[in-house]
């Protein structure tokens, strides 16, 4: 059997509540600045949760000069197009007609397709009390819009990205709720290792910051209702935490085979070294208090990356700031990290940018790559009274400068889908490669 291919991350792009690119997002994370505020995109004053981490003042037209394309792109797809364009520019490589069949695309796509305006347009043709009247659609006055239909389809993001960037290889869209971004990374890693692609554009994108998306989480009681202290509302691992803050955005990465990336002189952020993926098989909304499920995902990711807990310097936690998740995740880390758990730095960057749902895993993967690049573990903001049930080594008060040899990123979704992705610094890869070559007699 051929040796397994090593996969390099050579480009990053971010559109987040903290900024419209990777640089501004990273600077805000390092400074511990919050992107959470009262929701401005619509009047949320009647909801129990009135705060969110919105992407502010975003104008896709300035970043993607293709008005026809943007007409077909929902808000979250616009984030995706902008973040993907940044990642490709950062990598310094683009699909060409001669390479397009060898470029793949793997996306963690959000679950909401139909915009609130479209829902209202159909509602206008409903009967008394909101009873749906299908014949209303046949009414001559009904504003049937084929472009809106396209925007609503689950793989429309895939259609827009592959068409705009000229990708013609393996392409997929996945959704495992809040684990979607991590799952997309894992899928991309496997596709590359199987050599079904030479390059992958991989990412996650989502926006549920609209009346219906916000409703979904309000109904479940999952959101922080600290409406008067928006920037303090997301406080993962704090004893007083009371729910997550809904965010939006996109994160994209460009993957290449390691040797090919080296040969073309690409700048490599990190190795995408391993993936772990499990089901908790417990309950739909709750995580198992013991960490069962996440434990297997973390252990698999380490084994897949040929790492032990001793190799890990940083964990980007799922850390949603809900009571259950944070406890369960810490229980999982204590088991999976074993005697290294008090050494390994842990932070949840959701403390600053909120929970980006299907985009979270991909955005946080990019954060891990940046943490390795800069040698900084970003701060877990808003932690004043650590929950004794969250006994891990959390990066408190300010970001910590430290060489990061390897990092992992956790993402856990409703339904018990667990994802863990592992990253290794280029220096560690080089050290491994030279020690391996020395071992050959």
């Amino acid at each position: 059997m051929k040796p397994r291919s090593r996969i390099a991350i050579t480009g990053l792009g971010l559109v987040t509540p903290l900024g419209h690119d990777a640089k501004s997002t990273w600077e805000s994370l390092v400074a511990g600045r919050s992107g959470v505020d009262r929701i401005k995109g619509f009047d949320a004053s009647g909801f129990i949760a009135q705060i969110g981490a919105e992407v502010k003042d975003f104008r896709a037209e300035a970043l993607i000069p293709d008005r026809k394309l943007l007409k077909y792109a929902s808000r979250s797809c616009r984030f995706a197009l902008a973040a993907a364009a940044e990642a490709l520019a950062d990598a310094g490589i683009q699909p060409q007609p001669s390479t397009s069949e060898r470029w793949g695309c793997s996306l963690g796509a959000g679950m909401m397709g139909v915009s609130f305006d479209e829902v209202k347009a159909v509602h206008a043709f409903c009967g008394e009390g909101g009873g749906f009247r299908p014949d209303g659609l046949l009414d001559n006055d009904f504003p049937a819009d084929p472009v809106a239909f396209c925007r609503s389809q689950t793989n429309n993001g895939l259609a827009l990205l592959t068409r705009h960037f000229g990708i013609r290889g393996y392409s997929t869209a996945v959704h495992t709720a809040c684990a979607s971004g991590g799952q997309a990374l894992g899928t991309a890693l496997k596709v590359m290792r199987r050599r079904q692609a030479d390059f992958m554009l991989v990412g996650g994108y989502d926006s549920m910051l609209n009346p219906i998306g916000l409703s979904g989480f309000c109904l479940l009681g999952a959101l922080s209702t600290d409406n008067d202290l928006p920037e303090r509302a997301s406080r993962p691992f704090d004893a007083s935490r009371n729910g997550f803050v809904l965010g939006e955005g996109a994160g994209f990465l460009v993957l290449e085979h390691w040797e090919a990336a080296r040969q073309r002189g690409a700048h490599i952020y990190a190795e995408l070294a391993g993936d772990g993926n499990s089901l908790s098989c417990y309950r739909i909304t709750d995580s198992h208090p013991s960490g069962d499920g996440p434990i297997q995902a973390i252990q698999q990711a380490l084994a897949d990356a040929e790492m032990t807990p001793k190799d890990i310097d940083y964990v980007n936690a799922h850390g949603t700031s809900t009571l259950m998740n944070d406890r369960s995740e810490c229980a999982a880390l204590r088991v999976a990290m074993g005697d290294q758990v008090d050494r390994v730095l842990v932070s949840s960057t959701k403390s600053c940018m909120g929970h980006l749902i299907a985009a979270a895993g991909a955005v946080e993967a990019a954060v891990c790559a940046l943490a390795i690049r800069h040698g900084i573990a970003p701060v877990n903001a808003n932690l004043t009274q650590p929950d004794p049930a969250c006994a891990v080594n959390i990066v408190r008060e300010k970001s910590q400068r430290q060489r990061i040899r390897a990092a992992i990123s956790n993402s856990f979704g409703f339904g018990g889908s667990n994802s863990c992705v592992a990253f290794r610094s280029p220096e560690e890869v080089d050290a491994r490669l030279s020690s391996k070559s020395l071992a050959i007699p």
Binding site: S45, E128, L137, F149, T154, Y170
Partner: protein, 431 residues
């Protein structure tokens, strides 16, 4: 052949308008019976596209025997859970696990994967908000305040695209590597391909792969028809008079495992999974290339993955969705690979409509039936092959497969193309 050994199919389940078992569906197809009929879920008397292959008169509790579960899943999930349950039961894996020691049973669970191609109406979940919109009378603050008393608190959970994934895990104790693919029509076919890849690469020892969908909802029917994708009469794949596709609903599932494991536990082997290919044409959501580029490349990749030469393929199950552009370009793509030496080609959607995310898996399950029995069903709605398509070995009459190896083609929005290659086991019987 892959170094990690052969992959076999040891369980299968399907449900659609043509029946609740693979045998019932296969019999309907063999006898030329179509389940396409006027839609019953709402009054379609004024609708221009009135037909679909619905699952009518079904007892939800007979499909999934968990009363509480019905409150937190949607129609599409019901079908997926049912098909997965049938496949898992048929495989005998649960009885096998129950005979294991606790440690071994835990390891078994962690090494059992779940791969789902998930589809559901895009619009159905928004209908739940119409009463609240009426109550709010255009005021968002009122919308927010009245929310809790008006909309089901479990609304979000009910519409999670990964419901089948997690409930298959919970119900059957499969805890291993997994994926929920939301790539529209090709989701199910990709779930099978990813399940196979996970076992080959050692991430799992066995996996269930499911494709499920329930697209028959007013807005989806309305928009598809407006876009010229839906027929107002019937589905005639490759026919000169074809006028579009017709929706179906349902699901199919298969169990894949290592051949050595299956033989060691004495499982019935239905067939072998040989390979897959997956590409996009990169032409956007609705456009496809007339030259069949994506279909041809997906087939070539699948044949290479399977280490099978084109002349060894004994049957092609085409996507054949009945739309003008897809059928023509699909035939062109298939022909390019086979260089004029085509095995018999058929398609099944005339019998139970287009299952969207479920389409690839149900076609694969039925391809195994056709290969096993050595019988390629004719397409009764095919009156006259489209002369613009050119020579193409589809027929309204039954044909005989040239071997026990079949190729399944699956296409979807975003110019996706997936091909699967399977070999049927001649002696297997389907319970």
């Amino acid at each position: 052949m892959n170094a990690t050994g052969h992959l076999v199919i040891t369980g299968a389940g399907a449900v659609c308008g043509a029946g609740l078992t693979i045998d019932a569906i296969w019999n309907a197809i063999r006898h030329g019976r179509s389940a396409i009929a006027p839609i019953t879920q709402w009054d379609v008397s004024a609708w221009p596209a009135r037909f679909a292959a619905e699952l009518t008169g079904i007892d939800n509790k007979a499909l999934v025997d968990d009363r509480k579960l019905h409150k937190i899943i949607s129609r599409t999930d019901l079908f997926g859970l049912y098909a997965a349950g049938v496949a898992i039961r048929q495989s005998g894996l649960i009885a096998h696990r129950e005979a294991l020691q606790p440690d071994a049973a835990e390891h078994f669970a962690d090494r059992s994967g779940v791969f789902v191609g998930s589809g559901g109406g895009t619009y159905q979940n928004t209908y739940d908000f119409f009463p609240l919109l009426s109550a709010a009378e255009g005021s968002l603050p009122v919308f927010g305040r009245e929310l809790a008393g008006t909309v089901n608190p479990m609304w979000l959970l009910k519409h999670l695209p990964n419901n089948v994934l997690c409930h298959v895990g919970i119900r059957h104790g499969f805890k291993g590597t997994n994926a929920c693919i939301t790539n529209q029509c090709v989701g199910g076919a990709m779930a099978v391909a990813e399940a196979a890849s996970a076992i080959r690469s050692g991430e799992a020892d066995r996996a269930v792969a499911v494709g499920h969908d329930a697209p028959i909802e007013p807005e989806t029917v309305f928009h598809y028809h407006r876009l010229g994708l839906l027929s107002s009469s019937t589905l005639r794949p490759f026919d000169r008079e074809r006028s579009g596709t017709v929706f179906g609903e349902g699901a199919a599932a298969v169990i894949l495992e290592k051949a050595d494991d299956a033989r060691a536990r004495g499982a019935t082997i239905l067939g072998e999974f040989l390979g897959s290919g997956c590409v996009t044409e990169g032409t956007g959501l609705l456009d496809v290339r007339p030259d069949g580029d994506g279909m041809a490349r997906a087939i070539q990749i699948a044949l290479q993955d399977a280490s099978v030469a084109p002349e060894s393929i004994g049957l092609v199950v085409a996507h054949g969705n009945g739309t003008r552009h897809s059928d023509a370009s699909e035939a062109e793509g298939i022909r390019r690979v086979f260089n004029g030496r085509l095995p018999p080609v058929t398609a099944f959607k005339w019998a139970f409509g287009h299952l969207i995310a479920g389409s690839g898996v149900i076609d694969m399950v039925l391809a195994l039936s056709a290969l096993r029995e050595g019988f390629v069903p004719g397409i009764p709605t095919l009156n006259s092959l489209d002369p613009d398509i050119g020579p193409f070995p589809v027929s309204s009459k039954a044909q005989t497969p040239g071997s026990r190896i079949g190729l399944i083609c699956c296409r979807g929005f975003s110019a996706m193309n997936v091909a699967l290659v399977v070999r049927a086991e001649p002696q297997a019987t389907v319970a």
